[in-house]
Amino acid sequence: MSSYPDDLLYHPEHDWARIDSEDPNVAMLGITWFAQDALGEVVFFDPPSPGTIVHKDEPYAEVESVKAVSDVVAPLSGEIVEVNEKLADAPNAINDDPYGEGWLVRVRMSDPTERDALLDADAYSATLGA
């Protein structure tokens, strides 16, 4: 069932960011439970390459279900330092564990103050009208 963990920051385009506990300039990114539910079973994730620069509020990757393709929007700006290679063989992790095994990329932030514009779990949940 739907869940929006308190330790994450949310972007209204249904993306989350988890600030690294050891390096506050690095964040892990993924899509929310709502996003994966709307999309249905993810069958393909086409990750960008490490080194790619991503820009807050702009698409940086695509996830595809059987029926549709959906852009993934960056909640923060920065450079991709790692992609979740396991998703190539098991993209359904995005459905099964969107905040864990289903993470998409890790980014070194170019402007850590951008995080202040993101939503907390309550504010994000409120945007869903639930």
């Binding site: 249905g40 079973e41 069958v43 393909f44 086409d46 595809e64 059987v66 029926k67 393709v69």
Partner: protein
């Protein structure tokens, strides 16, 4: 939005509902499109397709009217028979693709696509004037269920008062007490039946068939199943801008029956079959271009999923694309220049900026190992 008599069942099953041609329809149930797809391939699925329309043509001139409208040879439909055809305009553009069932010597039911039903019925009426036949819009009088898969006949047979009709034939039966027109047809590439019955009887029959093992399946699985089987979807693979010859439906066009559009289709057939088709200087039909195109089936060679509207290097466009749950690769159908339509041809498809190679494959893309 319109709702089918099974709407409450879909809500109770927590289906995801979408607007489809003005109908609030289940696109998938909680187990998801892959599970539903595989249930149909391996066991039995049940689809609510009550949004599809029905036109009844009755009277001494019914056969002659349908012969004028439909591309196939209607005189070949035996009593209790079924036939696939297209409905064309004078230019040979496809107005709809249809199944017609002959219920009585002078009574036929033609099943329409939901998105085209009103236009089809209007077209039927406009051309009915010279024929001694009555037309009835029966959309509101029928619910329609498709029960498909290797166990489908067994499951329906168990509630039927008499043996089910064979493939491509139809018969009236009592199913769990309700009168239904049982048709040996489908849109999945599996054996099975389609059932037309009174809307009020549909929920109880749905429940009974589900209780006996039919798995509810939504429009998303219906689409992946039909695409693996290379059945056309109107609005994707068929349109007013394409003629049935390009679409690979020449087999259901009998120009000698003089149906509306026959002359255009005769010309299209000649253009595509002429040895110089690839270098044709004569404009072929419609605004699609001056060179004949053909609808081919393809499978992506590698990762990626092509989608409707993706363009193809050297000309052509994808009209249907998805991930094949049975094959595990991206599949689809595309119109390509005739010279690129041979089996084994590599197509370079522009999938949102990435070029993905795809190979032209034999239809159907999925065939049961038997």
């Amino acid at each position: 939005m319109r709702r089918t008599p099974l709407y409450d069942r879909h809500v109770a099953a927590a289906a995801k509902l979408v607007d489809f041609a003005g109908w609030e329809m289940p696109v998938q149930y909680p187990d998801g499109v892959r599970a539903e797809h595989m249930a149909v391939r391996e066991r039995c699925g049940i689809f609510d397709v009550s949004h599809m329309g029905e036109i009844e043509t009755v009277g001494p001139g019914a056969e002659a009217l349908l012969q004028r409208l439909l591309s196939n040879d209607v005189s070949k439909i035996a009593l209790g028979g079924a036939q696939y055809s297209v409905l064309c305009d004078e230019q040979g553009g496809v107005i709809d693709d249809l199944f017609t069932y002959r219920l009585e010597p002078e009574r036929y039911v033609t099943v329409t696509n939901a998105s085209n039903h009103e236009r089809d019925f209007a077209w039927f009426r406009v051309h009915a004037g010279d024929f001694d036949a009555e037309l009835h819009d029966r959309l509101d009088d029928y619910a329609m269920l498709a029960v498909q898969g290797p166990l489908a006949r067994e499951i329906v047979q168990a509630v039927s008062d008499a043996p089910l009709p064979a493939r491509m034939t139809t018969a009236t039966r009592r199913l769990a007490g309700a009168e239904a027109l049982v048709c040996g047809t489908g849109y999945t590439g599996e054996d099975g039946v389609e059932l037309l019955l009174a809307p009020g009887d549909a929920p109880a029959l749905w429940d009974e068939l589900c209780r006996r093992g039919a798995v509810p399946a939504g429009l998303a699985a219906r689409d992946t199943l039909r695409l693996e089987a290379c059945f056309h979807l109107y609005g994707n693979d068929l349109s007013l801008e394409r003629n049935p010859i390009e679409a690979g439906l020449g087999w259901c066009c009998r120009e000698d029956t003089n149906f509306i559009g026959a002359d255009s289709i005769r010309a299209a057939r000649a253009a595509l079959s002429s040895p110089g088709a690839s270098a044709s200087v004569e404009p072929v039909l419609g605004p699609a271009g001056t060179r004949p195109q053909k609808l081919v089936a393809f499978a992506i060679d590698g990762p990626g999923i092509a989608r409707q509207g993706n363009s193809i290097e050297g000309g052509g466009v994808v009209t249907s694309g998805t991930l094949s749950p049975s094959l595990g690769v991206g599949i689809g159908m595309a119109y390509v220049p005739a010279e690129h339509s041979a089996l084994g041809t590599v197509l370079q498809i522009d999938v949102r900026g990435k070029i993905r190679p795809a190979i032209v494959k034999q239809k159907p893309l999925y065939r049961k190992a038997s």
